[in-house]
Amino acid sequence: MENVKRTPLYELHEELGGKIVDFAGWALPIQYSGISQEHHAVRNQAGLFDVSHMGEVMVTGNEALAFAQYLVTNDVTTLSDTQILYGMMCNEAGGVVDDLLVYRLEEKRVLLVINASNVDKDFAWISEKAKAFDIKVENQSNQTAQLALQGPLGEEILQTLTDADLKKIAFFHCQEGVTIKGRECLVSRTGYTGEDGFEIYCKPEDATDLARDILEAGADRGLIPCGLGARDTLRFEACLPLYGNEFDDVITPLEAGFGFFVKLDIEDDFIGKDALKKQKEEGLTRRLVGFEMAKGISRHGYPVMDGDREVGFVTTGYKSPTLGKSIGFAIVEMAYTEMGSTFDIQVRKKLLPATVVSKRFYRKNYKK
């Protein structure tokens, strides 16, 4: 694989038998032992993911919070130090530039964690919008490695490697300067699997040894290394959106059904607010739904049909490893969004029936 970037953990992935693919320009393992096995490990014990490809942008300065508030759809003013929120950066038309986590490390220091596939686009966007604010923005993506330790046994495993009391890091909170076997890390109780767990940010040169220590500490508790395949099935079941699937620069967060993270009723302005307000007032013409199929499996991009009329498209579809059912998300015209509505999914040459169900396929198992 040429012209593909490698994370600091690349050699370890090869050593552990990872099946390496090109993901957003990064050579990363799609799986090690198998997607199903890795998926179940995270639901029942724990899994370790290399997410060093994610982007990190540090915002510092007097107006760091004001800037974040303007950039992001969610209400950053609700955060206290060490608290984190999820939201989207929207364009002026209300489409999504990217979704991200906002870490309020301190009043004048805010960390934005963005998608690997969007780092260059996002950083250009953020830098442009930052000009009007008294802040400095720095793309730290290449100086930051990231591991995600996810699953119900994640805390117990990580606790064996640090003196910091992990219980004190609450859901969507973080702590800086956590020493894990002598290596200084930023640790947050966040993730992308629907399970309890941590995301651990460290120096690139520490990442491989840190991963080895964690894998060793968790081996007898069922911890296994996990790849991007399981990361996607896990986030999907937990109804966590993926940029490029559930929304993108022309699908708004309201259409994708993530209006909860868009605070239209607060006074502060954010990019895209007017457009999204207008969309809400006029009413949506399409919206994301969950669906179930008795036969066949849907995939990203498959057309949703009513007879010979296309009424939507599948954003993500799988045979769910946890539920054993064929389920998916689709963005469809409003007439098809009621629970129990039916339509067909075009699976290759066949039209296969699907029924709208709650998109909360799996109840998140967070420790709050």
Partner: protein, 129 residues
């Protein structure tokens, strides 16, 4: 990785077992390994007719749908319905679990396929790239 003697192979990693005028089609050990956990086998219809290189059916792994190509023209005379209930059997025993059997329209098309030795070389070359 296992390659079975006595079968013919395609560059898309299907195998063909010839019995008289009938050809049983499956996927190789290499193919099942590459696909990962198989969760669904979409079988062709009985009596359906196909041209050479047509998509015969699809095998879905957790991650994606994979088209299975028919290397020889023919009419489907048997399908392995057991795979509807137990698709993972293809992962476990790829050479025992054929997908469909066709009555060949033109046996001379078999000459386009590789024997076990040639297939092994083909994989080795592909791996080097």
């Amino acid at each position: 990785m296992k390659i079975l003697e006595g079968l013919l192979y395609t560059k898309d990693h299907e195998w063909v077992r010839v019995e008289g005028n009938k050809a049983y089609i499956g996927i190789s050990d290499y193919a099942q390994e590459a696909m990962g956990d198989i969760v669904y086998v979409e079988l062709p219809e009985l009596d359906e007719e196909f041209e050479q290189e047509d998509t015969l059916c699809a095998i879905e792994s957790v991650k994606a749908a994979n088209d299975i190509f028919l290397p020889i023209a023919g009419r489907v005379v048997e399908i392995n319905e057991a795979l509807e209930e137990e698709p993972e059997a293809v992962n476990e025993h790829p050479y025992e679990n054929w997908i469909a059997c066709v009555e060949m329209a033109d046996q001379s098309q078999l000459k386009d396929l590789m024997n076990a030795g040639a297939y092994e070389e083909f994989i080795a070359e592909a791996e080097e790239e």
